[in-house]
């Protein structure tokens, strides 16, 4: 990574107007605020339906902003980019698509895959809060094993999301498989790292994909004050690995030297409460996290 952003380098200018409708402790809106600070006002935002599209109403007056359908953000952006190209205005603006995990990993997968494969020059930002939070917290393709959601509730027989742990849809890896020029993961717990990655993405010709882990107190049943702490704990326990992937190489950021136990992360969230006494499952989770850390650094 080139020059690292420091807090004193950040602009005081806000592109996100106060009065957004987000919940207290919303991780996604925090991510979006930082991303806009990194890109500045010369940006066109296409926002797929999701929490952001609802809370963002009239909240970004300095930036051309278009809330589109659930699944078509990348397709709309393909049109914007090709229009600007033929009109000779391509280099005028940063092009940013913002979508949640449902809009990215599930319903918008085809649209994203197509736009990336065609090589359009844009940044795709997925804020991953691991469920359909806008509709009340239903399970998505990125919901982790064990999480209780409104469609994977804790019942007397089945307790939370029960597909195999390793089967969670891993969109950054799917984007790497597309030979996307720049793929990165970030967490709202590390805003400067996120800003660096967004700035880097803006310099890339072709598509960039940034997957931002974003806590959600409403859906995770956690304390709003713990949002940033959880976003850090996810990294410190190894659940989330922060990396950049470019030219076939992966570099890591904030990789924990000594990994914290996964329970530290789980116990602050209502969605995992039913697992805390289940020693066998917790052990399996530790094993899974270890294995994945090993695999990703292979």
């Amino acid at each position: 990574m080139t020059k690292k952003t420091k807090i004193k380098d950040l602009t005081d200018e806000e592109f996100l107007h106060y009065g957004s409708l987000s919940c207290a402790g919303c991780g996604a809106i925090l991510a979006f605020r930082h991303v806009l600070k990194a890109l500045g006002e010369n940006t066109i935002v296409i926002n797929s339906t999701g929490c952001m599209a609802v809370v963002m109403q009239m909240a970004v007056p300095k930036i051309p902003y278009f809330h589109v359908l659930f699944e078509n953000g990348p397709a709309v952006m393909s049109g914007v980019e090709q229009a600007l190209d033929i009109l000779g205005k391509r280099d005028d603006a940063n092009l940013l698509v913002v979508a949640g995990d449902g809009g990215t990993a599930d319903i918008g997968m085809g649209s994203l895959s197509g736009a990336v494969e065609r090589g359009h020059d844009f940044i795709y930002l997925c804020y991953d809060n691991e469920s359909y939070m806008n509709t009340g917290g239903q399970r998505s393709g990125t919901t982790p094993f064990g999480a209780a959601t409104s469609t994977t509730p804790v019942g007397s027989v089945i307790k939370g999301e029960n597909r195999p742990m390793e089967m969670r849809k891993d969109v950054p890896e799917i984007m790497i498989a597309h030979n996307t020029p720049y793929v990165a993961t970030a967490s709202i717990g590390y805003p400067l790292d996120l800003i660096d990655k967004v700035k880097k993405a803006a310099t890339i010709r072709g598509p960039s994909y940034i997957h931002v882990f974003s806590s959600c107190p409403a859906g995770w049943r956690s304390e709003p004050k713990d949002s940033v702490k959880l976003a850090k704990l996810a990294v410190q326990t190894g659940f989330i690995v922060l990396f950049e992937h470019e030219d076939g190489k992966r570099t890591f950021q904030h990789l924990p030297k000594k990994r914290k136990p996964v329970k530290d992360y789980l116990e602050l969230q209502g969605r995992f409460q039913h697992l805390l006494e289940d020693r066998e499952t917790i052990e399996k989770m530790e094993e899974f996290v270890e294995k994945r850390l090993e695999w990703i650094q292979r």
């Binding site: 006002e41 010369n42 940006t43 066109i44 296409i46 926002n47 599209a53 609802v54 109403q57 009239m58 970004v60 007056p61 300095k62 930036i63 051309p64 902003y65 278009f66 809330h67 589109v68 359908l69 699944e71 078509n72 990348p74 397709a75 709309v76 952006m77 393909s78 049109g79 914007v80 090709q82 229009a83 600007l84 190209d85 033929i86 009109l87 005028d92 603006a93 085809g110 649209s111 895959s113 197509g114 736009a115 494969e117 065609r118």
Partner: protein, 393 residues
């Protein structure tokens, strides 16, 4: 003007080129494909200065057209059948965003059972998506309607998208003699693409698009869209007059043929109206008082013209190349609704024909005539008839 021998799909591609379309986004589906293939060739030969987005679905095709249009470009796509259905969600998105995009539709039925041939099921089920709909009877009309559509849609009083529908294979794949405008002629009629009369995605003038509208305001938005579509009829007629002045080809919302003194008026959309013309000529030779009303524009619905034509008729034979399952053909209720306020209404019969590409032959139309004639004589006949289907008891 040059004389050419083109298929409907070629005519659609030529029209997109002559209209100086800047962004084309399309996904292959039979029978639309060759339209997009021609455009790809034009672009790769450098004959057409446009960007082609080879999208991964029709849903994305229309999404890209909306994005490109809001970024200021003139856009085109073409589709058919299942593709149009996959795109359906985005049709409402496009008209709601008041995007002046134009789409060619090589009409084809909807599966299942699988069938790739012509009927109007695909575009008819999307008739209420807030788009202008044209129906063509030949390749010449495909070319003329697409070029005119841009001028209509981009008019700031309209700012709505348009579908130009032409029967799959029957028009899309059959070559016929036609007159093609030169680029100079097209430029004379259609100004260069210029998005300055509508809101655009522009960092220099940031605007917010696609926001939530709450119930108190929602009806106002819907009314404005509806009104724009209703009133687009005036712009359609105005643009047709201009086109006629320049190129001597006359268009209206409808086309009347020998309807003035007709007791029986046949009414329909697309290529079957040409066959009906032929049958009308035959019947007129036998001194039967029959005529045909071809609807060129189906949305906005030409109430006034339909009423004028049918006012003095005794029987109106409404020919649908589609079926509204559980009710009638889809054109039928539009016509009966338009005629309802008349004190003396003609007898309105509905004929479902040509589904899934079944040839609508002169014999089919003659069968429609025979049933209509019985009604004319005062006999009881069914309201909805399937003259070309095998009816099993």
């Amino acid at each position: 003007m040059t004389e050419e021998f083109f298929t409907g799909n070629r005519a659609a591609a030529e029209a997109a080129k002559l209209s100086r379309t800047q962004v084309v986004a399309a996904y292959p589906i039979t029978p639309q494909t060759s339209a997009v293939e021609y455009i790809s060739q034009f672009i790769n030969n450098g004959e057409m200065k446009a960007n082609m987005i080879r999208v991964e679905s029709e849903h994305s095709a229309m999404s890209a057209c909306v994005g490109a249009s809001l970024a200021g470009a003139r856009t085109f796509t073409a589709s058919s059948s299942q593709g149009l259905q996959l795109m359906s969600e985005v049709l409402y998105f496009a008209s709601g965003m008041r995007v002046p995009t134009v789409m060619g539709i090589a009409n084809r039925t909807l599966s299942m059972p699988v069938n790739i041939w012509a009927d109007h099921q695909d575009s008819m089920v999307n008739r209420d998506s807030g788009w202008i709909q044209f129906y063509c009877a030949n390749a010449q009309e495909v070319l003329d309607n697409i070029i005119q559509a841009y001028k209509i849609c981009e008019n700031e009083k309209v700012l709505l998208p348009a579908m130009v529908c032409y029967d799959g294979f029957i028009i899309s794949h059959v070559a016929e003699r036609m007159d093609v405008l030169t680029q100079e002629q097209a430029d004379m009629f259609l100004p260069e693409p210029n998005g300055s009369n509508r809101p655009l995605l522009d960092p220099k003038e940031p605007l917010q698009f696609g926001e939530v509208v709450y119930p108190d305001w929602y009806p106002d938005f819907e009314y404005k869209k509806h009104k724009a579509l209703l009133e687009s009829r005036e712009t359609i007629l105005e643009v047709a007059r201009e086109y006629n002045e320049l190129f001597d080809r006359s268009y209206g919302l409808v086309e009347n043929y020998l309807t003035e003194d007709a007791d029986i008026v046949f009414m329909g959309l697309g290529s079957l109206t040409s066959t009906t013309h032929w049958v009308v000529n035959e019947l007129r030779e036998k001194r039967e008082k029959v005529g045909v009303l071809k609807l060129r524009v189906y949305r906005p619905f030409p109430d006034k013209e339909v009423i004028e034509t049918c006012r003095n008729a005794k029987v109106v034979a409404i020919i649908d190349r589609d079926i509204g399952y559980g009710t009638t053909g889809m054109l039928y209720p539009d016509v009966t609704r338009a005629l309802y306020p008349l004190d003396e209404r003609p007898k309105c019969l509905n004929f479902i024909v040509g589904l899934g590409g079944k040839d609508v032959t002169p014999e089919t139309i003659m069968n429609i005539y025979k049933i209509s004639e019985r009604a004319l004589k005062g006999e009881e006949v069914d309201t909805v008839n399937w003259p070309d289907a095998r009816i099993y008891d």
